[in-house]
């Protein structure tokens, strides 16, 4: 069963934020920050999580036009954390190694979004297929 609040769908312990406009980026990072707080993150790690979400959500708008952010608490061997998944069915990334380099941008960005998000989070994985879409999955653990 899912519950719809302000475009945000709650599915079990997951929060799904549809991304199709720049206002949705703000919703995604606010939801992410609020969930991170509930999980037990404090101080600068809240800003860290919100910033990483902002970067991957903006990439959805910029390159795929629409997609979604899925936020989910994780508990692994007593460790608490947050998983952020950003997925879209956009054009995909032909060369992931290149896209992960600081300063590489096919738009007129700073090329910091993906490599920066990887630095901000503890775990980072990106799966992409040209013509099919992109899924970025990142985790951060409570210290």
């Amino acid at each position: 069963m899912s519950l719809l609040v302000n475009k945000v769908a709650i599915v079990g312990d997951e929060i799904h934020v549809p991304i199709s406009s720049d206002a949705d980026i703000v919703i995604a990072r606010q939801q992410g920050r609020a969930l991170a707080e509930r999980i037990g993150f404090t101080g600068s790690s809240l800003a860290v999580v919100a910033t990483a979400i902002s970067e991957v959500a903006r990439n959805i708008i910029e390159y795929a036009k629409r997609g979604e952010i899925v936020l989910k608490p994780v508990n692994q061997g007593g460790r608490q954390g947050l998983t952020v998944m950003a997925r879209d069915q956009g054009p995909g990334i032909p060369d992931i190694a290149l896209a992960m380099q600081d300063g590489y941008s096919t738009a007129k960005g700073l090329g910091l979004g993906l490599p920066g998000a990887r630095r901000l989070m503890d775990e980072f994985e990106i799966i992409s297929k040209v013509g099919r879409g992109t899924t970025v999955t990142m985790k951060k653990w409570v210290r």
């Binding site: 990072r29 600068s44 809240l46 800003a47 910033t51 970067e55 903006r58 960005g109 920066g116 630095r119």
Partner: protein, 124 residues
Amino acid sequence: MLVPILKQGDFLIATIQSALTDDDLLRLRDDLAEQVGRYRSRGVIVDVTVLDVMDSFAARTLRALAHMVGLRGARTVIVGIQPEVAFAMVQLGLTLGDVETALDLEEGLELLHKRTKRSASRGR
């Protein structure tokens, strides 16, 4: 959310009140560049105290804002970047380039007074 811009003497002070979308930020940049001319302002302060995130888009837009305002003959100072936000910016790899910053509004005004005085005497 519209960012109110206050005219105080030779300066314009824009105080961000809540989270901003990309469009809000672009609007702020354009409004300030326009109002600097309209009011013949010599300095601009952007107060970002309430922002809990400064991502690559926000940093890029503030840099462009300072650049545009600079081309219109005025100085820009960004004030109020919170310590948590600064921490995340550094990890992300973001800089504000050569945009000047100050701790808070008071320090920002002091810096602007100093900057605009010095450039006035240099021109003499």
